[in-house]
Amino acid sequence: MNTETNRTFEEAAECAPLVRAEGFRVVYYPTVAVNCVSMTIPRGAIVALIGANGAGKSTLIKALSGIVRCDEGELYFDEKKVDLQHYSPSAARALGIRVVHQELSLCKNLTVYENFFIEQAQIVKKKFGWRKQAKELAKAALDKVFPGNGIDVSAGLNDLSIAQQQMVEIARATSDQNMRLLILDEPTSSLPIEQTLQLQQYLTKTAREGMTYIYISHRLKEVISIADSVFIMQNGNEKWRGGIRETSEEHMLKMMVEGMEGAGTLEEQSERPAHNPDVGVRCECYHTASLHNVSFQAIGGQILGLTGLEGNGQLDLLQEIFRCGRKRAKSGISIKGRVAYVAGDRKKEGIFPLWSILDNQVVTKAANTNLFRYLSRDWVQDSVQYWYDKLRIKSNGTSAGITSLSGGNQQKVLIARALVANADIILLDDPTRGVDQPTKNALYALFREAAASGKLVIWRTSDDAELRYCTDLMVLNSGHIVGKFDNTNVSHETIISLSFKSDDEKCEKIEEKRRRVRTPLFTFSLVALLVIYAICSLKSPLLLSKYGLQLMVVGFASLVLCSLGQTFIIGLGHVDLGVGAFCGLVNVICCTTLYDKPVLGTVFLASAFLAYPLMGYIIHKRRVPAIIVTLGMSFIWYGLALSLQSMPGGTCPAWIRTVFYTNTPVVNTLFFWLVAFIVLAIVFYRSRYGTVLRGFGNNETAMVNSGWSRAKAYMSIYALAGAFTFMAGILTSAINNASDPAASGSYTVLSVAAVIIGGGYFSGGVVTLFGAVCGAVSLTMIGVLLGLLKVSTDFTASIQGLVLILILSLRLLKKKEGKV
């Protein structure tokens, strides 16, 4: 399409290159991911980087962008040598190298423009009106790359479809004015056809203006239409490079396959194992969210390979078989025999890190027996020993910790786990990832042996060279089975072209996430609050009056402030179990020491407050669980309060009462302060740094990579939480004009409850301050309501509990509904 604008590779190379990488080598012991690759990228070029699964493309770009350290090699950027010893993502960014990763690095709890801001804070300088500036920036960037995108920059990331999120990620990278080189890793994998074309147009246009791109894609048609040159990798090495005119789709396919281990026609099995019809999996027109119309049959004795490009449904099929094998089968799928699953991502879903090899190996067999069966040491040892010896796991005996093993040996243990359990159907999720060749060979032999003994092995692999060990193959593409082969009649070319064939599969339009108006998170708590208030005022119209309102404010003021503090902490994914005790301590200091000796009291209060950011710092520095630190602190707060004052009593200093709790002609000052604090909290959370703090609750790594300090964030959040809880203590003193070390104890759990009712979650940085306020008020109002209904106060707590459960259950139902 753009032959005029395409310079030939030679012409482009004549300009001074922007990036020159020499002899890059990255080793993940024991695999060599990138083996001595040199790459020169001319200014203003679009270089396509392609290769089969596991060729080393991702590792190469991770090395270029500082995410992974190079073991050997030199890098020249703009003719200047880069110090690879001290190379990091932020150093790469300073040079002007940016990456759009496949796994997105956005904060899902923020809006589109907030995501622009946290990464481009240097552009959005204004203190006030930064939102407007960030929105403009986001809008401009999105429109520049994807004209007519229709993305609302004020929408939350969670409300966008995957394709739209991908667009945001791309546009965000392009808005960086310092950018010199942009690396795009599969940018179009989830983009619809129109946006793909827009992106291509944008790239070719800006490349002509001097921007440089590395473009990784499995879609060869796209590569041909936009790239100037192609760099093909295979097994961590450069396979071929040249100008786009010197190649073609067929040529590239051939280059990717040629010379690969076992290339050409797949090796025929020496002997086909006998089939065992007692074991099998059968699918007929099976559908799930990610699998479409899947029909196949496999029986014992087969090694069925699942292949295709990553993320095209192989893993979903494997897990679906496991799920249906464990539980009652669904219609369309029937499974004969016991299943066992060998996880591929060892760290995330495979090993149990606290355990020995022995326990790791026996767990599935143990779990399959009666829950209370006595498992003697001998039983465990006997179960494990055969496979342990057979697999030649290198270790100091079976009682050594699993983490002391190398990756390959850990993988052996995981496979032994399935074999020890004597499962009929063994599901392998890419088990040889990161395993050295001798171990791999041992595993291949093992799989064959398992199949020969009548087991069915279903094997998802990302290494195409492994397909020759399978007796049967299925190629998946976008959740469809696009090819089923008996191992004897298929070539690599066929498999690769089936996997790469994609253009006709592309969805025409962005799948619209259902455009129903999303209710804000705090809706439930607000509705609950209003309902309770309405019932209360029906019972007692007095509550609608100013006097009634004031009476209620007195009841919930302190809890509201505690909940605000708790919101900040839960927003970070932590829990503060010391809120109530801290509030109590401030209350006690205020009414005893501060009353008697104002100076000493002030010192006490100040040091109590300073403990909070210090806590944040300790939690950051030592990576200890916040829940225990705050639990320990709650004992300390309570103990200090008790030492100052063992019985309820004390008097609040008059000036505090005057400031915080005086009736004025308009309204009680308490009401004013409460509103002021709520507004302050909300305004802060929406401010520039508040936005950053929210980002930390969702995606810490992304925030640190964008250059924000984790220590500062932790300390700020704890300081904030401390400040609000502190004020809760002051208000308690003003209201009660007395202090009681234990009186605020219930605020700890109530504040957590308020945040959760208010739409918050314990993880993911999803909280709302307003929701928490509504939650706190609702919890208090339940007490008021029960009082009006003449229900004994004995019931208050339990009805609060019931309402809490009810609200959370409703929320769950709502969520489920949203998914369907």
Binding site: A33, F352, W355, A367, N368, I628, L631, F635, S643, S798
Partner: protein, 332 residues
């Protein structure tokens, strides 16, 4: 190599070994400052600690399910257990067995409700059990005045007070209970499944662990133990009263933290819990001996929890970082 093993052993068991050493030091100090170093003073503390240990063991099971689970309904269940056992018995030995059966039944119901809320409604354990605690407390309040809860059946009293060769048998009972739980955790399918799911829920599911069954059973066991602890405590303090379980809320967590159980789940230490509760009470009584008031005691308790955590973390923290680094590289 030996050094490595010792290191690994220490990082697993460090905190309760420290607590054990601490206990001995406290015991000696108490002896020096007071009535001389006698076994008697140690036994008296162990006696008080054994009641906490039961609650601690219950808490330990729930915490071990992982994902920050804590059972906040233990205090309520202790109080309920006390009321029901005292009320049903009404001082008669004949009614002890029905009473205990009823306590167990209630424990099963509470455990089932707790676990269903956590598993099927997806409510975080802290919130679910907190709500449950409120409900139990109210339930107890309702039956507060209906029964006579101050006459203790003589057999129950005997269990709590009898000493064999100067050692209260309740200590023996608690040690046997800890042995039993240790056995459950280390040598049964249930235990392996529980420890596996606490370390990594997804890995456990993929390793064919019957996660739901194990989790339900864990909450049930915890509630049943708490109920029985309530019955025993009320026999010791001459009757049931409202709020009698409240102290056990935070202390049950404190004693398992000291005992080396991981709050994030997946590692439990039944004997550590015993040591942890003994250490906690030795700390309290030695401070009482020194004339420290309740406030100072609480401060010291809190400081101990944090100090032990930081001491334990210095080793683990590095390890964890190293692991993360590796994991990051491998993903790439």
């Amino acid at each position: 190599m030996k050094n490595m093993k010792a290191k690994a052993f220490f990082s697993r068991n460090g905190s309760w070994i420290l607590a054990m050493l601490g206990s001995i030091v406290l015991w000696i100090l108490m002896g020096l400052s007071g009535n001389g170093i006698t076994i008697r003073s140690l036994i008296d503390n162990a006696y008080t600690a054994s009641f906490l240990a039961i609650a601690g063991l219950a808490q330990m099971l729930v915490v071990t399910t992982g994902r920050g689970a804590i059972d906040l309904s233990i205090p309520g269940m202790i109080t309920l257990g006390a009321y029901v056992s005292m009320g049903v018995c009404n001082g008669s030995n004949a009614m002890i067995i029905p009473a205990i059966l009823l306590v167990i039944l209630l424990g099963v119901i509470v455990g089932l409700l707790n676990s269903s809320m956590v598993i099927f409604l997806g409510i975080p354990a802290i919130i679910a059990t907190m709500a449950m605690n409120y409900i139990i407390v109210t339930g107890t309040m309702l039956i507060n005045n209906t029964f006579n809860v101050f006459t203790i059946p003589s057999i129950l009293k005997a269990i709590v007070q009898t000493r064999v060769m100067g050692i209260p048998i309740i200590i023996g009972i608690v040690v046997i209970l800890a042995l039993f739980i240790h056995f459950l955790l280390s040598s049964t399918s249930y235990g392996k499944s529980l420890l596996a799911m606490g370390q990594n829920l997804e890995a456990a599911r993929l390793a064919s662990v019957r996660v739901v069954r194990v989790e339900v059973l864990t909450y049930v066991l915890a509630s049943v133990f708490a109920g029985i602890a309530g019955a025993l405590i009320s026999a010791r303090v001459t009757g049931a009263y409202l709020g009698m379980g409240d102290n056990y809320q935070m202390e049950s967590i404190a004693c398992i933290v000291i005992g080396g159980t991981l709050m994030s789940g997946g590692r439990a230490n039944a004997f550590g819990t015993l040591v942890g509760s003994l250490f906690l009470y030795l700390t309290i009584s030695s401070m009482q001996l020194m004339g420290a008031d309740a406030g100072i005691q609480s401060v010291v308790k809190g400081a101990l929890i944090i100090a032990l955590l930081l001491v334990g973390a210095s080793e683990n923290g590095e390890q964890r970082d190293g692991r993360r680094h590796k994991a990051g590289a491998e993903q790439a």
